[in-house]
Symmetry: C2
Subunit: 337 residues, 2 copies
């Protein structure tokens, strides 16, 4: 293993000089810097992470707590995780992966062991058990999602209320009078995951404001669940012509079920999905959707954490503006004469 001391000897300078060349915390003459850099390259030196963490009290690692849930749409989580990782690397940081299996105490362990300088929590619930621990340890953190009381916390999320409202507006603009929200799995609502409830709230409110008839149903993944949910909605409110779907896993089944039941999209019913663009584009017909900016959420979370490390106060909500893209699945409400 190559150590800093060896680099120093090779370059004919003292170890501290090498350290300063690397960190840039003191000015170094052009000449020495080049010599040191050459030695580093030549010897293939990489600083020892543990030693650095010990001496500097910073690990340059961000911990990422991802949920184990089976009721969340996995590709979105993964996309966020990957965005976090690549952004972190741009800041010279690495990412430690934690699952919620370890329980909330993982927060304490990571904070106390110096394994990570900061953490990012995904799948935040309204009353999340990890949050008191976060407050108590004073660990640097960013949340993806909103808890009930975000005071003093750094939160990033899509503005799901606006998302719901946007979808309702789009359908209202197209002349639909009866609309339904097909949401996430029931378990998601049961544990009060913010995004689902906020979408619902925004949708409900705007639907009311626009005078739309309104229905909301959770929906599991899988064909059974999807077709069951759909047929119950149509039975209860046969005149429903506008659907908002916030459930990627159910989308293909919902679409094929609509087709089978003889309802053409978008001639008879309109569908607005809340999903990543990729999913919307891979469906047939391509879906009008409010996209989930997974990458941006991950990126922003890391950037906020870095700002926080730099002493800035980043607490507060960073709500990303939703954007609706009109594609082939939504159109004017059918004439009802």
């Amino acid at each position: 293993m190559v150590t800093l001391a060896q680099v120093a000897r090779h370059a004919g300078v003292s170890p501290s000089t090498v350290s300063y060349v690397i960190s840039g915390k003191r000015s170094i003459s052009q000449d020495t810097r080049l010599r040191v850099e050459r030695s580093i390259a030549e010897l293939g030196y990489h600083p020892h992470a543990g030693a650095r963490a010990l001496a500097s009290n910073r690990s340059n690692v961000i911990a990422l707590m991802i949920p184990l849930r089976t009721d969340m749409f996995v590709p979105v989580m993964m996309e966020i995780a990957i965005a976090i990782t690549t952004t972190a690397r741009r800041f010279g940081h690495d990412v430690l992966l934690l699952t919620s299996e370890e329980g909330p105490s993982a927060v304490k362990r990571v904070a106390a062991s110096g394994l990570a300088d900061a953490m990012i929590l995904m799948d935040v619930e309204l009353e999340d058990e990890r949050i008191p621990l976060l407050r108590q340890t004073g660990a640097a953190a960013a949340l993806i999602g909103l808890p009930a009381d975000p005071a003093g916390l750094t939160c990033v999320d899509l503005d799901f209320e606006a998302t719901g409202a946007l979808a309702a507006d789009h359908l209202a603009d197209l002349g639909h009078r009866e609309v339904a929200l097909i949401g996430a799995a029931e378990s998601v609502y049961r544990r009060h995951t913010g995004f689902a409830e906020r979408t619902l709230a925004g949708f409900r409110q705007q639907a009311a404001a626009r005078g739309l008839g309104f229905l909301h149903r959770p929906c599991g993944a899988g064909h059974e669940a999807a077709s069951g949910t759909l047929s119950r909605i149509l039975q209860e409110r046969p005149n429903t012509t506008g659907f908002v779907v916030q459930n990627e896993a159910a989308l293909p089944h919902l679409l094929s079920q609509l087709r089978q039941s003889g309802r053409a999209v978008p001639e008879d019913v309109s569908v607005v999905a809340v999903c990543p663009d990729e999913v919307a584009l891979h469906s047939a017909p391509q879906l009008t959707s409010v996209s989930i900016p997974a990458q941006e959420m991950g990126r922003r979370a890391v950037e906020l954490l870095m700002a926080q490390a730099g002493g800035e106060d980043t607490s507060g909500l960073t709500l990303l503006r939703p954007a609706l893209t009109v594609r082939e699945s939504s159109g004017p409400a059918p004439r009802t004469d």
Copy 2:
């Protein structure tokens, strides 16, 4: 921050004793051990990861390199990653997440910096760039997937050749005479990812052995790609009645396309999927499938790494036996009279 020295003082023993209590590397009297453990709990002590890594030259971290590909089925990757993380925790290890964005040099960086003791590579290609670096640095590693030359490497994977053969056999047993393999995206084959080619090889060979007419087509995700691939196959070989699908993303589209084209599953055509059980169960009809044991792959990889750390020679292939579960999507070939 609580240090080991503080624990030692609190318990009235020397620091080394506390260390030995924690590591269990020496026998400690019942009495002292309890005293120390109580102090640890009382003070809420967590060893400093960096200090430990520096002194012991082991970080208790496993690096996990996941691909950035968009052409792989993400939930499977995620399931593997989660299984790796939870298994690693059982061994007192954490997981560092690396994306392939950083390039093969990440292998060197991680090995040289002592960030991780070992690594797990996913999405291994036949001629993977990371492998020479692995050999050169002598870093402990386990691969999920097989490279062209696995000599001296520790590899875990589903036995995809047997998977292909199993699917072919099942269709042959049911009396199908013309079969087709709808595979992963073309890009997957182009970069010579082992699993796709091995499935193909196993399928082709067994199809030949059983005297089946045989066709293979890669298939992208999305509706367009799926229905295009399917109709081309049916055009080229209209008598194809058995399909093997190794492409989770295309499955729902394929099924709805078959339905639309008037082919009933399983009365007219049989479908065997290579996918996680969850996907098979959520389809309509539920799919006969060879399941992808994602969790077991992750678990085994970690276990092998731990054995390796214990001095065992774990090099060689660990190929998991595929298992085919008959569900509703496969049945006897239609009579051809």
